[in-house]
Amino acid sequence: MSTTPSNQLELVKERGWQRGLRNLLRGEFSAWFKSSRWWKQIIIWFSIINLMMIIMIYAASEAAKDGESVPSPLFMYGIFGGMFVAFGVMIIMQRVIIGEKRAGTAAWVLSKPVTRTAFVVSRLVGNSLAILLTSVVVPGVFFYITLGFISDIGWLPPMNFLAGLGMIMIHTIFWITLVLMMGTLFESSGGVIAVPITLFFILWMGGGMIPGLEYISPLLLTFSPDPDTINSLSFSFMAGEPAFSWLPLISTVVLSVIFITVAIRRFNRQEF
């Protein structure tokens, strides 16, 4: 055994809140991409979003031949890519902080030279990138190709599609930051998942009851609870129409920043 410090090893030189961040991110990415997790997620989301969209596009084209009015594939994509992914995020993220606190791995990692802020940021960045890639970007690309080849809509202008996909990404990040924050506030995964689900249904069904909610709800980035009067931002951008308002985007970004701030502050005060 050698216990003499080796001068051949180069010391990590991160400073401030970033202490340990690089290695924490490496750990997060390896948990996603050096395991079967990433391709399993892609298969799940391909099945939920893309297969369903293919079926719907065929069904819509058959219905259109019979002269029936059917929802646009862009509207349906907003529901699958927005609502379903939001619930997926709640399931995937529910144990991210809580699980580590309870298993003791958080305490173990925090006994190394890492800051708590770096710990939270690594969980946010690592999971966000992996979730966005597996549940938004890859299904989005498949959907774009599907639209081009088999739908009546055809090939959308790429920038319009990317802008719409960007709205779905921001909507997904909103739920990621919310669930992450809940992980720092609660000690059980029940609480972590209950609050986002409740909020989702309030945003979905409370539009008519809470004045102004229909103009700031993050749900409006991907699907509209009242499509007869308002189109979601993703729908509008993909269809090349102007957004009805920028307020949902602004409120979603502001709320996400607040959630991250609260998560970091709360985690910095926690005891292990």
Binding site: Q8, L11, V12, R26, A31, A107, P113
Partner: protein
């Protein structure tokens, strides 16, 4: 020893959870290159102390320093020079032992990878996990996890090793290996550890602190602790009218107590004395003068377990 070689020092370090005072004004001093055993019954405040030292928990009052740096303000810097083995250590289940050590090493070193690999291999060899290095931790036994815990604690050549129950869940051979590793490491590092296995403490530690109900009861070297009250005990086996002799011996000025037992047809006494020389010169002759036949006479070596129990029970009265 002087204050310049202090690795850990705490002053009035306290921690409360609401009405529960987990740690009360702890003043602790751990010197460089010592093996410092931190003892106490379950719930005494040992793990709380370790968590305070590592910055995993914040003190309610008081403070402390490691390597002369504040345990709250400089916590991240301090941890650069510490290796820590938690009680019931847990790792990421998807990683192998090798990946876990590589991951741990990279909190301290950024490269080169070949040197990190070399260090990882040294650690796997140190704890005898070479043949299981590439298996997922998911399938590891408690003992294997504990070995890996020791390896990850040592991977960064720490100046201070903090070990919470290092020999727990190890078989006798594993326990012996851990003690051997600790003895070897002492040349380069200070070891602060908690344990319930008092035999191990007596074998390898040079300083001991005993804590009970959040309060430090005593801190001393092993020798000083075993010398304890200054009382010396002799064990005797004999035959004859011991009842008559009992009062006579008990009245001798240097005899402080006698514990009587019975073993087969023999009577056993544990005679506590305040003057060892007087006892060695006169105890046997006094017993013989009482017509007793002595078949065994020996000095009872003080045992840390007895000392520990006496101290802890004494602190509860």
């Amino acid at each position: 020893m002087n204050s310049n070689d202090l690795v850990i020092s705490t002053q009035g370090l306290s921690k409360s959870y609401g009405e529960i005072h987990a740690l009360k004004k702890l003043d602790l001093q751990v010197h460089q290159n010592s093996i410092f055993a931190f003892l106490g019954p379950n719930g005494a405040g040992k793990t709380t102390t370790i968590k305070l030292l590592l910055g995993l928990t914040r003190p309610t009052s008081g403070g402390g320093a490691i390597f002369g740096r504040d345990i709250v303000k400089d916590s991240v810097d301090i941890r650069t020079n510490i290796g820590y083995l938690p009680q019931d250590v847990r790792f990421y289940q998807h990683m192998t032992a090798r990946q876990t050590l590589d991951y741990t090493a990279k909190f301290f070193y950024k490269g080169p990878q070949s040197k990190i690999n070399k260090r990882v291999n040294e650690m796997l060899e140190l704890v005898g996990l070479e043949d299981r290095a590439d298996r997922p931790i998911k399938g590891f036994s408690g003992g294997e996890r504990q070995r890996l815990g020791i390896a990850q604690a040592e991977v960064n050549y720490p100046d201070l090793l903090i070990l919470d129950e290092p020999a727990a869940s190890l078989d006798p051979q594993g326990r012996r290996d851990v003690l051997e590793v600790m003895s070897r490491i002492r040349k380069y590092a200070t070891i602060f550890y908690c344990t319930h296995i008092l035999d191990d403490v007596q074998r390898i530690s040079d300083q001991v602190a005993i804590i009970n109900q959040g309060e430090l009861i005593t801190q001393a070297s092993i020798e000083k602790l075993l010398a304890g009250s200054g009382e010396v005990v002799y064990s005797l086996e004999m035959r004859g009218d011991t009842e008559r002799a009992y009062a006579y011996i008990h009245n001798l000025s240097w005899v402080t107590g006698i514990k009587v037992g019975q073993e087969n047809a023999k009577t056993t006494w544990q005679v506590s004395v305040s003057d060892q020389t007087a006892a060695e010169d006169h105890l046997i002759s006094q017993l013989v003068s009482q017509d007793l036949k002595i078949s065994h006479f020996s000095l009872v070596e003080q045992n840390l377990e007895d000392v520990f129990i006496n101290i802890v029970e004494g602190s509860q009265k």
